[in-house]
């Protein structure tokens, strides 16, 4: 295909957008590794700031990781069966469920956090435990899990697979675990990656809901941006990137793979 001037014009525009998104990422990575960002890279590269971040914020990093894993566990246990039921009995409150699935986007995290604090803030022990943050993260991520699994279940006729398994003698649970789940795997994996990514990066809810003992990584980030020097904030951001970027790459891979197989089928 011959390239028209339009092609190069659009390519240039796309590259501009791309650099708008990526230049600050690289800048912050460099800032996190530079002795003095104001002076520039010539002041020397260092891991000192990473060390400072580790000293100050290591607990937030681990807390974010285990909250993300706990969120994943809960959304898997609650969300996957729910998606299956929705796929199996469409029409049953479909409209209502659709509303529910857009709510985390529609209702700002701030409002959900406020509502949770007003309702459950009185339960001291719960309010100050990481379980409280977990509830917020589950609410926020559950619809993404449900939607991802639902999308895969609607893309192939799992009902006839179940019927054929039933004709061979398989009961309800055996069909669910042996036939439905393995064949919905791509949706479950994509949903899981989304849930972990969103949970690790969640700020709006967590900022309102956290206590000093339940500070997560993004909350720590906000704290460092506000009160630490730029290099420390940058180094901390670098740690965040290291955690989140592999997840995002995996998510992209998986998403692409899924559309690829759909095309082939």
């Amino acid at each position: 295909m011959r390239r028209t001037p339009y092609f190069y014009l659009q390519l240039a525009f796309t590259l501009l957008v791309c650099s708008f998104l990526l230049v600050p990422v690289f800048m912050s990575i460099i800032a996190g590794l530079t002795e003095n960002f104001f002076v520039g890279v010539k002041s020397g590269l260092t891991l000192r700031w990473i060390g400072v971040v580790w000293e100050l914020y290591a607990p937030t990093i681990f807390r974010s990781m285990y909250i993300a894993l706990a969120t994943l566990a809960v959304t898997l246990v609650i969300g996957v069966p729910a998606a299956y039921v929705l796929a199996k009995r469409p029409g049953m409150m479909t409209r209502l469920v659709e509303e529910f699935l857009v709510l985390p986007v529609a209702i700002p995290g701030l409002a959900i956090a406020l509502a949770l604090i007003i309702t459950y803030g009185g339960f001291r022990d719960f309010r100050t435990s990481w379980g409280f943050i977990l509830v917020g993260h589950v609410l926020y991520t559950l619809p993404f899990m449900v939607r991802s699994v639902l999308a895969v279940l609607s893309s192939f006729n799992f009902q006839v697979l179940e019927e054929s398994a039933a004709s061979l003698g398989a009961g309800f649970w055996r069909r669910f675990f042996g036939i439905v789940l393995p064949n919905a795997r791509s949706g479950i994996v994509a949903g899981a990656l989304t849930v972990v990514t969103l949970s690790i990066g969640e700020f709006n809810l967590t900022w309102m809901m956290h206590t000093p003992e339940t500070m997560t990584l993004p909350v720590g980030l906000a704290d460092s941006y506000a009160s630490m020097r730029l290099e420390i904030g940058s180094a901390y951001t670098l740690v965040f990137f290291v955690m989140i970027i592999p997840l995002l790459v995996a998510l992209q891979r998986y998403g692409v793979q899924r559309t690829g197989t759909r095309k082939a089928a």
Binding site: C18, P24, S28, A82, L103, G201, F203, N204
Partner: protein
Amino acid sequence: MRGRENRNLLLMVAPAIIVGAAFFLLPLARLAVVGATGKLGLAAYTAVVTNPQYFEALASTIVLSVTVTVATLVIAGITGVFLERNHFFGREALISMLTLPLAFPGVVVGFMVIMLAGRTGLIGELTTYFGAGRLVFAYSIAGLFTGYIYFSIPRVILTIMAAAEKLDPALEEAAKSLGANPWRVIVDVILPALKPALIASGAVCFATSMGAFGTAFTLATDIKVLPIVIYTEFTLLANIALAAALSMVLGVITWATLAACRVAAGSTAAAAG
């Protein structure tokens, strides 16, 4: 035969329903009630219109969100369609990079804006270098705007690309064979086909901007957007009822916008099909 299966299915949705009811519906209902039990009473719900300070916050939030939505649709529309329809070396890498900031939380996006347009930011360096003085806009409404399109572009690009993938090349070829120039092809063929996707992703973009908190929080702008007002009322002024009422209003506005756009996108999709 069906009875047993229905019982199992009920067992399987029950946890989701319980969690949703206990931690979402009930708290939201409480929020609505609490909103009306402050010293303003039910008037807390109208304060967003009657109180000039709140009204200004609401207005600037809406204006900001609409502007961001329009700008994002244009930017992401051009790049999304371009990337879907042209195959060249490095395309995959470009797509990956463009969608990378997808899961950056608002605070990080705010920090990215500081990197670009803050006091030590790249843009300031460049303008100083070219002798135009140090340009710093991270902490103004322009900084907010920059941050909001930063986190909106990746989401919208994905939706646009998915929709552009389904464009029937035959339609475009037919239009060209009838003598349409590239501009006419865009207006008559491509845009109508993308309309449902544009409406849907625009709605999500608007809703996200309305509720965005982290970016504004990091930039600590002098412009008060509604989420910041809510946060201030709640945390610093301990005005819980008003914060509740304002967040209910915010939630209803975004939810209603989304619902309206879903209906609009649905009907255009139906009309196109």
